[in-house]
Symmetry: C2
Subunit: 380 residues, 2 copies
């Protein structure tokens, strides 16, 4: 618990939920007859609704991006480092909207929600949702909030994919796209890691073909493994080396298969905590949304042609030690944006933290992010 | 089946087994009262036994490194690319010995062997074996074969660690060490991947605390996952991209969690095949041998001091896209060898295959490897 709320915090926040009655036809062809979206807002919407920012979350993210739900919270929202008064996404100037995506497990309609058609949990019957679907659902949320055009849509990793898709699918409704530690499509290696994660979950006997709730269990071991392998890909080799090296858990080796090194202990801890708080079906869904994302696909695999529709300005940021979505992946996007004659700023930040760097307020990252957002603010 | 045996093949080979009655005290403190080692030999030992080469295998390797066991074999031994007449390890000049290490599952005493004390399979009771232990067992094998000094000890990956340990523990019995795609110790990231693999195996309910044979089962799913995650680390991002890219399994996406991309299919296939042919307890043991390897540890963490004892010449080879044991890891070893005033040749081979490159006969790799081995042959 913070003794007092930090001066640059958005403070105490309360999530809100909107119900949508209008059916949503998804990319997979299935229809969600109705659904809820849970979201938070920070800052004040101005009179002409020109200062609205949409935050899109990554694989395990949610709507609680900044501030505290109560004074007993140990930690603020997941992107509190970048959202607040005086921070890059400055809530004294912007009205910030952060939602939990469809298919999530933090309050928006997803696999753990009740299917109105059956009065039972969706579970594995919840349809596969894609980045394109999310963007449509986010546009509907904007409609409800009276926001015609976002001053910016911003996201890291899977969140950056949503910002990119916004620029293509709703060119008139987005003035700026900030795409951080992201990629225009996954590589084979990225998909391979996702497949290992999915296989870990689905081969856990407690998964029960996704109907674990019917058996009063969860595929805890599988979800733990999925998170462990994911977690390795979020950190750089150097960052793990710096943090743990070969530090031993005990003074001498026990010569067995229990934890011997600190890095094992850390990874097990991370996996266990995550597996207690995240829905396995949602994890499958989120990894598939990553795999399927490929905006060039419906434009003859020509990303330049997909981007031709965009009208917004772009900020692309990558991190030197990010090997999950490496700087080269961002550069491909930047090159295609340039070919498509779009206005794009690009920075590769020298940071040791790997993919997780997008969550960490290193000075140069904050400086370039703030500079771009200052320009966004001036255009309001 | 090869129609005819290739002219540069060692041809048909037959493994042999030697029984050792002398107890072996292991690094963990436990004692193996007796054990078998299975091995193959290629070429002829010369009259003064000065042309003997020891091949050390990697995590999933074994004694069958070259040639064919029968004309119906689909594939030759695992390092046939480098062992044979006219190849870098030229069997017209060298007598090559290749064994399955203690703790293995291909014929040497390991977890699947019968414990003479109980008349039941060792299973999880089989003690943890280290690289140091293997080197002692290999020295005893050399004694039995009448080989006092190896012209060279050669290995890739975990095999390279054994070659390095030989140079420190038996300086008088090794004239050359060839250390390929290896490292003087694992990084935190390496250990982390191993821990995911172990956790995948041990959290499979079919593992039964390592006593799966008592239950007439094997932890097939866990072993499959372990191999899948391992396999990703053997290939470079670029090699996976080149081989699979985002190639789809079907013409259109099914929008579900079954295989959609070729890379998923490949990875599942590799994992399944492996899980049918490898013992889970041996997999745990081999990953721990990797983790524990750190010859500097008993020399105040000064690798230079460990290497000071070595008398042999060294050849160190790394591969540009190997991110499991990157060129930087080899360079650390080379730097310490130079500091310790040892004779060392080092080459980083530009190859796209990642860690697996040590198995693939790319021209420059074969050239430098052959050049070094020519010099070894001249010293016989």
């Amino acid at each position: 618990m913070p003794e007092t709320l930090p001066i640059d915090s958005v403070g105490l926040v309360t999530p809100q939920t909107i119900h949508f009655d209008q059916p949503l036809t998804l990319q997979c062809g299935k229809v969600l007859p109705e659904y809820d979206l849970i979201y938070e807002t920070y800052g004040e919407l101005n009179s002409d609704a020109s200062n609205a920012i949409l935050i899109c979350h990554a694989l395990s993210g949610h709507h609680h991006a900044a501030g505290y739900h109560s004074l007993s919270d140990k930690k603020p929202g997941w992107w509190d480092s970048c959202i607040g008064p005086g921070k890059p996404i400055d809530t004294s100037r912007f009205f910030v909207v952060s939602l939990n995506n469809l298919g999530g497990c933090h309050g928006s309609t997803g696999p753990t929600s009740i299917n109105p058609a059956t009065n039972a949990q969706y579970g594995p019957e919840f349809p596969v949702v894609t980045v394109k679907d999310w963007v449509i659902s986010q546009a509907r949320l904007a409609d409800k909030l009276g926001i015609n055009t976002w001053a910016a849509v911003i996201g890291g990793s899977l969140g950056g994919m949503q910002a990119l898709q916004w620029s293509i699918d709703y060119p008139e409704r987005i003035n700026n796209a900030v795409i951080i530690a992201s990629t225009p499509k996954l590589t084979a290696q990225n998909i391979a890691f996702n497949e290992v994660a999915r296989k870990a979950i689905t081969s856990d006997p407690a998964f029960h073909d996704g109907r674990y709730f019917d058996h009063n269990t969860i595929p805890q071991k599988g979800l733990m493994l999925a998170r462990m392998v994911g977690h390795i890909t979020y950190l750089s080799d150097a960052a793990m080396g710096e943090k743990f090296g070969r530090d031993m858990r005990n003074k001498a080796f026990k010569f067995g298969y229990d934890v011997e090194f600190e890095v094992e202990s850390y990874l097990n801890y991370q996996g266990e905590r995550f597996s207690e708080n995240f829905d396995a079906n949602t994890y499958l869904l989120m990894t598939r949304a990553l795999d399927y994302f490929d905006p060039a696909k419906e434009y003859d695999n020509q990303l330049e042609n997909a981007l031709a529709k965009a009208l917004c300005k772009f900020m692309v940021i990558s991190f030197s030690t990010d090997w999950r979505f490496s700087p080269e992946r961002s550069e491909i996007l930047v090159d295609e944006l340039v070919k498509a004659d779009k206005q794009v700023s690009y920075t590769e930040i020298d940071a040791p933290h790997g993919h997780d760097a997008f969550l960490i307020p290193t000075p140069r990252y904050m400086d370039v992010f703030s500079a771009f957002m200052n320009r966004v603010a001036k255009e309001i």
